[in-house]
Subunit: 320 residues, 2 copies
């Protein structure tokens, strides 16, 4: 019998610290090459413009394998609908049976992306973070700040967006999370006042220049999740003392690091995977003035681990 869980049930099952641990464990499994993740499947639509991504894979020896389907239709908000949508399917690795359908409407992808940002900050962020700078004003802007609360005591934040009104609205929501938030009109000023920065935009050209970064800054980029997107100038990777990625293979194909690698500015071998850094603290920050960068493009192992976490929690709830 296939169990179907709705968004309400799924939300209820995600406990933040547990998810952060699950992401850490997933990244480690990935970097240890214990995960089978075929290339992402794509469908593209023209009228209206939209896309569908199919991510799937399994940790060898696990109980389950996972197929995640995520869609993005960017004109949906004109009709009052969310642009993102999706479903996560959990199958048995032993029988191929479809055990659980997670009708998450794309929420699990949002949350696992935010949790990965928290993992990057936990292992590479400055001690202490003085002010958190959020670049962008969308769903991930708020979620990244929300999830950073679990890995830092810092409650000072700044936000920048192309659209001032949206940035102000975003700042108000961020205040509700317990932060003192200021809106920065210029991105350069945000970089000057923050030493923990997260970029969350769909930009197709670099927004942040290397020269703007203070010594000791950590910057995580989560926006560039497909070909053609870029948030960080290639020089940021040249300047960084530590260059982290979620998947070296994928981050040499697309994302921010790919631009720096293709331009010959940094070598692919100089990129360390988050899973390697989690496993070996010697690869992390060794001095307060180091600049560190983490490029996160999203890997199916995150979908696998968050799905299993939901299953475990809902089973516990069912079994008593």
């Amino acid at each position: 019998m296939t169990v179907i869980l709705t968004l309400g049930q799924i939300r209820h099952a995600v406990e933040p610290l547990e998810l952060i641990r699950a992401m850490e464990e997933g990244f480690v499994a990935y970097s240890q090459q214990r995960v089978t993740v075929p290339p992402v499947g794509h469908l593209n639509f023209d009228d209206p413009p939209g896309d569908c991504h199919i991510k799937y894979g399994f940790v060898r020896g696990d109980e389950h394998f996972v197929v995640k389907i995520a869609t993005g239709f960017y004109r949906n908000p004109d009709a009052g609908l969310p642009s993102g949508n999706g479903v996560v399917l959990v199958f048995s690795q032993k029988t191929g049976e479809l055990e659980v359908i997670l009708l998450d409407e794309g929420w699990l992808t949002d949350v696992r992306t935010a949790a990965a940002g928290a993992v990057a900050a936990k292992h590479l962020g400055p001690r202490p973070a003085e002010r958190i700078g959020i670049v962008g004003t969308g769903t991930q802007a708020r979620l990244q700040l929300d999830w950073l609360r679990h890995v830092t005591q810092c409650r000072e934040a700044a936000v920048w967006g192309r659209n001032g009104e949206r940035a102000a609205a975003c700042a108000r929501e961020m205040s509700a999370l317990g932060f003192r938030v200021r809106v920065e009109a210029r991105l350069e000023h945000l970089c000057a006042s923050c030493n923990l920065i997260v970029t969350t935009t769909p930009s197709r050209e670099p927004l942040i220049e290397a020269a703007w970064l203070r010594p000791g800054t950590h910057i995580t980029a989560v926006g560039a999740d497909g070909a053609g997107k870029q948030e960080l100038a290639a020089g940021v990777f040249a300047k960084a003392d530590i260059r982290a990625v979620d998947s070296r293979r994928q981050c040499c194909e697309f994302g921010d690091a790919a631009h720096a690698v293709r331009a010959g500015i940094v070598a692919a071998e100089s990129l360390f995977e988050l899973g390697q850094i989690i496993e070996d603290a010697r690869l992390a920050r060794t001095d307060d003035r180091q600049i560190t960068v983490a490029d996160l493009t999203g890997v199916a192992v995150q979908d696998i681990r968050i799905a299993e976490l939901v299953l475990r929690r809902t089973r516990l709830a069912v079994d008593g």
Copy 2:
């Protein structure tokens, strides 16, 4: 809101003649290049052995796109479980929303494969069919014969399988469909007495030789659905007057025709797609002594069309 349909509801919605028409229309759309079908996604498991195929695509201008996930775990029957399993997801091409989940347990794949066999026989089969020969004793063996009832009056059948007991059991079930069935101990004898033949085995070496085929015979091969599989000797394609395939591109990659093409025995250009033949009757049989062959490897457009048919029927039922 995502609607979820179970196997019972799905079975109820499939009306044979309507499905045969839907398959015809789908093959025509495919051959007219109106369908986007990316390469199939695969996952393979070792312990226990199993696989997962992800087929997805859309007819441009349609209301929906479809993602089908099918699994095969061949030791499941040892534990009393079916080896095949699956689910079909129907999304809106306009918003990306997941509209319907068809919890079909693999049944739709079985049925659309059988319906495609009926389509091949309808357009290429001999008039009249004297006796139908079924090669193999599995699910498709029974289903192919079952569906041929919709396109031929012939109720004489013969069955052959490697395992005599299973062939006898299969023959009994086929009798219940209204056929006079005999079990053939030798495949050569089956070919001598039948002029409409369907091969449904997972064989990895050719079972049927060209010399065994009577003039006027049509033979449909549905078993070779992946690399390494083969049911028909390459000579069958050389001898055939008409060589049909569901997808020329795919049938040059794997399946029975691929062996003949790769061996240089027939040219890829000599293969006609079923969609072309349906559209242009001049490509079909023109004389009673012609030998015709159809190689069916399975195309996502079939999954799209059967899913839409189920949707249409269940909506009619809901709407009144």
